[in-house]
Amino acid sequence: MSSILEIKNLYLKAGEKELCSDFSLSLKKGDKAVVEGSSGTGKSTLIHTILGFFPDYKGSIRFMDKELSPETVHFFRTGIAWMPQQITFRGKVLGFFEKTFDFHVNRHLRPTEKEISDYIGLFKLDKDTPDKKFEQISGGEKQRVILMVVLLLKRPLLLLDEPVSSLDEENKTVVTDVILGNPALTVLSASHDKTWNSRCTINKPF
């Protein structure tokens, strides 16, 4: 079977700083990959590049057999679910949820109240989390809220930027089980976390 994501000979630069010069990676369905490296090596930039936010790269990035280009970038952005390392949102948590599912391509996926409350239970979030201001919930709560959106989008590839960095051990185990324990999900993550990284099937230094 052909790969979901195929990166070949990627060369990345941020300003004058070279982030990688010959990075390659191939992900098949069900793979769980993590790029590891100390802070500032460019893991987040790699993820941004795959999503087309950083067109200044050399090399090849293919998702489901399409090369990243201005013509295919929308295909990438509707086929990949991204969990950013940091995100701002001015409004309530519920509004944060609804926003993504208001976009035309996602309307048919709009979650039911039950789906949302199931996830809230699964991720051990307070029941009133949806009514809180997004900026007022904690870093770990934000991570789980974003993960809910990412999972509810039901997309063929997940790009997770530090998915468990702010979680306590208990929640970390839950999240790791839900994502890395699900054979149907294909994941590329950036992480420093031992628990998470040890359960990934592909570990790439970056």
Binding site: G52, F53, H74, P84, I87, R90, D102, F103
Partner: protein, 267 residues
């Protein structure tokens, strides 16, 4: 109309000393606005003086081409001063501003002068020039606030914008919140001002017409029409300028070109 009391030139000069009070306040609070205020006052006076001289001839000739050329110059200056007062570069924003201002004027002028006031000659200097000038001058502020709000909010919330794009939003969907915010920020004060007109504010045109000797009734009819023309044209030009600029300042991956922002204005 010879009954209108004239202002002596010398008194006009003395009248300008009124500015000392605002200047002291600006100076005390280190606003850095003093030089700008002085320049703006001098520009305003010189420009009005020249315009006065110029208009005398324009009214005598009353040639549609000359009148239109004059309006064209006003549109160009307006477009430049919009990007001048925002923190955005002319290079990117002159054309969007020009298109927005020009088209909104065209539509509103045609409707107001051609249909409502029913001029035989739409380009009649006596109507065409002052009315166009009023519309232009009043929409300037809205254009400045909305452009600033749109691009500043977008820049300050880039992760949010990226998250929307990555979520599968079309560009127009991803930019929707910023257009919304720009419109609200820019027109909230305008609407509030319109709501109290006549109660606590007598607008310029009306004041001018009444001082000039027109009946209050006629002045009111003109004022109502003008307010609505100004408001409509402002919204149209704000929307068009932002919409056209959206075609220019994003790359083919919908990323915002961060080179559109000017460095901070020097004190």
């Amino acid at each position: 109309m010879n009954t209108t009391a004239d202002i002596l030139w010398i008194d006009l000069l003395i009248g300008q000393t009124m500015l000392i009070v605002p200047l002291i306040i600006f100076w005390y609070y280190k606003t850095g606005l003093i030089l700008d205020t002085l320049i703006a006052t001098v520009r305003m006076s010189v420009q009005l003086f020249l315009v006065g001289v110029y208009l005398k001839y324009v009214f005598e000739w009353n040639n549609p081409w000359i009148n239109s050329a004059w309006v064209m110059i006003m549109v160009i200056v307006a477009s430049l001063s919009i990007s001048d007062r925002t923190k955005l570069k002319h290079r990117f924003f002159f054309i969007p501003n020009f298109i927005g201002v020009f088209i909104s004027l065209l539509v509103v002028d045609a409707f107001l002068l051609g249909y409502i006031i029913q001029l035989d000659n739409v380009f009649d200097a006596r109507y065409y020039i002052p009315i166009t000038g009023m519309i232009l001058g009043n929409s300037l502020q809205n254009n400045i606030i909305s452009l600033n709000t749109f691009y500043k909010t977008l820049k300050d919330n880039l992760p949010e914008y990226h998250f929307a794009l990555a979520g599968g939003a079309k560009k127009s969907e991803a930019l929707f919140p910023y257009m919304r915010e720009a419109l609200i920020n820019s027109f909230n004060p305008t609407i509030a001002r319109m709501a109290v007109i006549g109660l606590i504010a007598l607008p310029g045109t009306m004041t001018g017409q009444i001082i000039g000797g027109s009946s209050p009734e006629m002045a009111i009819k003109y004022q109502i029409m003008l307010m609505i023309a100004i408001f409509s044209s402002s919204v149209i030009s704000v929307f068009l300028s932002i919409w056209v600029s959206m075609k220019i300042v994003f790359d083919r991956y919908q990323n915002l070109n961060l080179g559109i922002f000017r460095e901070k204005r020097k004190k």
